[in-house]
């Protein structure tokens, strides 16, 4: 006979399986291994992939790939390391390709985060936890799913640790809980430092609330201080790197914005589920004021609601990005809303009702909302095959020039060649097309990592090629096409005029006896320039 605790475990298995299926089955087309990357739909996806591939090849994450560091020697990798680390560990042991491991793990980590939130709410009320799971499906829906397909893996793994930190704050009374909190804090910092900062802000918020309601616990504060110290020790190797380069992500703090510059979740994306969230939030605030008792799950929900609307307070982009996890952070409000409304009709609540609701809501979501993405994304078998050929057959110091390609606009895609890559500016290319000219000098973008290009100068000290004036932040300038070693162009496109212009360009180049075709498939052509610098256009 199935006992109650078994029923709950079965429910969690159901939630785990359903969420994993929603998150990855469509994009992965029900396969784990693929011939080319699936689920990579933006530039960031390929930046993160490149870092993981670099780790896989070199064995560590100290130096950035030279082809992404403007061919400068000793440029230090500034990006937080744990997504790449987890990806490569899984790749090494399972045999899955690096690109298959990375997307799969971001989905799995989001599912883990949902289950951790379940546990946190369960400590408050088991029935609410079960009902709250009904909102988790939104993690892989519409704008909430952007984080996965746009390569926001570090944010996702960081958020998983953040939710687990919230859970661990609820367990500060455990003997030696500083170990738990300390490792999780360090993991959040090494995954995505903004999540670490949110965790620290929450800890401050938690103790301020304790003070305000006169329930201050000095022992908990002591444990937390030890945990923060432990996390800093564990993060020591990355901390100076972050300070010189990783923190410079181009995001302006203290800028108030009301609308995200990229697709981001808004409250109305929850459709009619929003009604329950709003009602639940009101009940949560009333409950908090009435009881004057610390409840971590409630505090977390209120705090993350504030954080995700802090774009109005100057937390610009990060506020919007944290909304990807609204289905987790706001799930308690959702459950409170449903529960209190249902209680109007049902006077005596049974736990079986919660189970029926939890499962029912997930199924409801599945029927009315779930729309699996089945497109693999930017990469296709033809350009990926060409990139593999380039990695295998061209010298490591080769300079590649890319003409227009539909996927190349997300330019970090080109970094998958592992060679110094340059991409023609589409506007300049279209201008040349409209003028009916084949131009030797075109506005061109160097595919390069962001930031200050730091290098090591001492044990824990770093210099910067940008600060030294060796390079500047500008990655786009006029380049002489004839200076490059290889030319890559697509002969098919959404814009047939551009594809035809590519062909015209290739035909012009190949007229030179020192330029030859070295690779082609039904989409991509690669030409080799055996005499870089010689006049290759003839005008």
């Amino acid at each position: 006979m199935i006992k109650k605790k078994h029923l709950e475990f079965l429910f969690l298995l159901f939630v785990f399986s359903l969420l994993l299926w929603m998150g990855v089955a469509g994009v992965y087309q029900n396969k784990l291994s693929h011939d080319f990357p699936h689920g990579f739909m933006a530039m960031d996806s390929f930046w993160k992939l490149g870092r993981a591939q670099n780790l896989d090849q070199t064995g560590n994450q100290f130096y950035a790939q030279e082809h992404l560091a403007s061919d400068l020697e000793g440029v230090v990798e500034t990006y937080p390391p744990l997504l790449a680390t987890s990806t490569v560990l899984l790749h090494r042991l399972s045999g899955l390709e690096v690109y298959d491991s990375i997307f799969f793990l971001t989905v799995l980590f989001a599912v883990f985060a949902a289950l951790v939130m379940y546990l946190l709410i369960r400590d408050f009320n088991k029935n609410l936890a079960i009902i709250a799971a009904g909102l988790f499906g939104f993690l892989f829906y519409g704008s909430f799913y952007i984080g996965h397909i746009w390569g926001r893996g570090p944010l996702i793994i960081g958020s998983m640790f953040l939710v687990t930190i919230f859970w661990s704050i609820n367990k500060l009374k455990l003997k030696r809980s500083y170990l738990l909190v300390g490792f999780l804090l360090a993991a959040s910092f090494l995954s995505h430092p903004p999540e670490f900062m949110i965790a620290i802000a929450f800890i401050v918020f938690y103790f301020v609330i304790q003070l305000l309601i006169k329930r201050f616990n000095f022992s908990e504060l002591k444990t937390t201080i030890i945990a923060v110290a432990l996390s800093l020790i564990l993060s020591l190797s990355y901390l100076p790197i972050f300070l010189i380069g990783g923190g410079n992500s181009g995001i302006k703090l203290f800028t108030v914005i009301t609308k995200s510059s990229e697709p981001a979740p808004y409250a109305l994306d929850f459709s009619f589920f929003l009604i329950f969230i709003v009602i639940g939030a009101i009940f949560a605030i009333l409950h908090f004021i009435k009881k004057k008792k610390i409840n971590v799950a409630l505090l977390v929900s209120l705090f993350m609601l504030l954080i995700t609307y802090s774009n109005y307070l100057g937390n610009a982009k990060r506020a919007f990005q944290n909304r990807y996890f609204w289905p987790i952070y706001l799930s308690l409000f959702f459950a409170l809303g449903i529960y209190h409304l249902a209680k109007i009709v049902i006077k005596k609540w049974k736990s079986s009702y919660s189970l029926i609701m939890g499962v029912g809501l997930l199924i409801l979501f599945l029927i009315f909302f779930h729309q699996p993405i089945t497109s693999p994304g930017l990469a296709n078998e033809y350009n990926w095959d060409a990139f593999e050929w380039i990695r295998a057959e061209t010298p490591e110091n080769a300079k590649l020039y890319f003409f227009y390609g539909d996927s190349y606009g997300q330019s970090s895609f080109l970094s998958s060649t592992f060679r110094s890559s340059y991409l023609v500016n589409t506007d300049d290319y279209v201008k040349a097309l409209n003028e009916g000219k084949i131009k030797q000098h075109l506005l061109t973008k160097e595919i390069r990592m962001k930031g200050k290009l730091p290098y090591k100068t001492g044990m824990l000290s770093y210099g910067s090629y940008i600060d030294d004036g060796v390079r500047n932040y500008t990655v786009e300038k006029i380049e002489d096409v004839c200076e490059f070693d290889y030319y890559i162009a697509d002969r098919g496109s959404r814009y047939p005029e551009l594809a035809n212009y590519n062909i015209l360009m290739l035909n012009t180049l190949i007229k030179n006896e020192w330029i030859e075709e070295v690779y082609s498939n039904s989409l991509v052509v690669v030409l080799k320039n055996n005499n870089p610098g010689a006049d290759c256009i003839g005008n």
Partner: protein, 126 residues
């Protein structure tokens, strides 16, 4: 107490085994176009790298935390510990190719020592 601990441990080892089989089936259903060998390797890797190290480590608090808590939180903690140590070892020059096998094995041994000290030898670490 010692017998109770051993009985619980045996029961939970069986549960973890059962869970492994269930997850394997779940993966086969989700990725039904994939070969069983790839799925077996992937699920085994996830258990070895993340689930087991964290779960065993959390056994230190097995009286205070439920099985589900140790399993779910343990998996996240497993990701945290394995990747933090792997990152730092890489910087110290040990190639990442050794970490996937080595690190979980070390964590499992260390956690076992810690648990035995607390629950069998009654000598908790300072």
């Amino acid at each position: 107490m010692e017998t109770e601990f051993k009985t619980k441990l045996k029961k939970e080892i069986k549960l973890i085994g059962l869970l492994f089989v269930i997850i394997l089936v779940v993966f086969k259903v989700i990725f039904y176009k994939e070969s069983l060998l790839v799925i077996l390797k992937t699920v085994s890797s996830l258990f070895w790298l993340f689930v087991l190290p964290g779960f065993v480590l959390l056994y230190y608090w097995h009286q205070e935390l439920s099985f589900a808590e140790r399993l779910i939180i343990g998996s996240v903690l497993g990701v945290a510990i394995t990747t933090i140590v792997s990152y730092n070892l890489g910087l110290f020059g040990l190639h990442v190719k050794y970490h996937a096998v080595l690190l979980p094995a070390i964590f499992l041994i260390l956690s076992t020592i810690m648990i035995l000290k607390r629950y069998v030898f009654k000598e908790d670490f300072p």
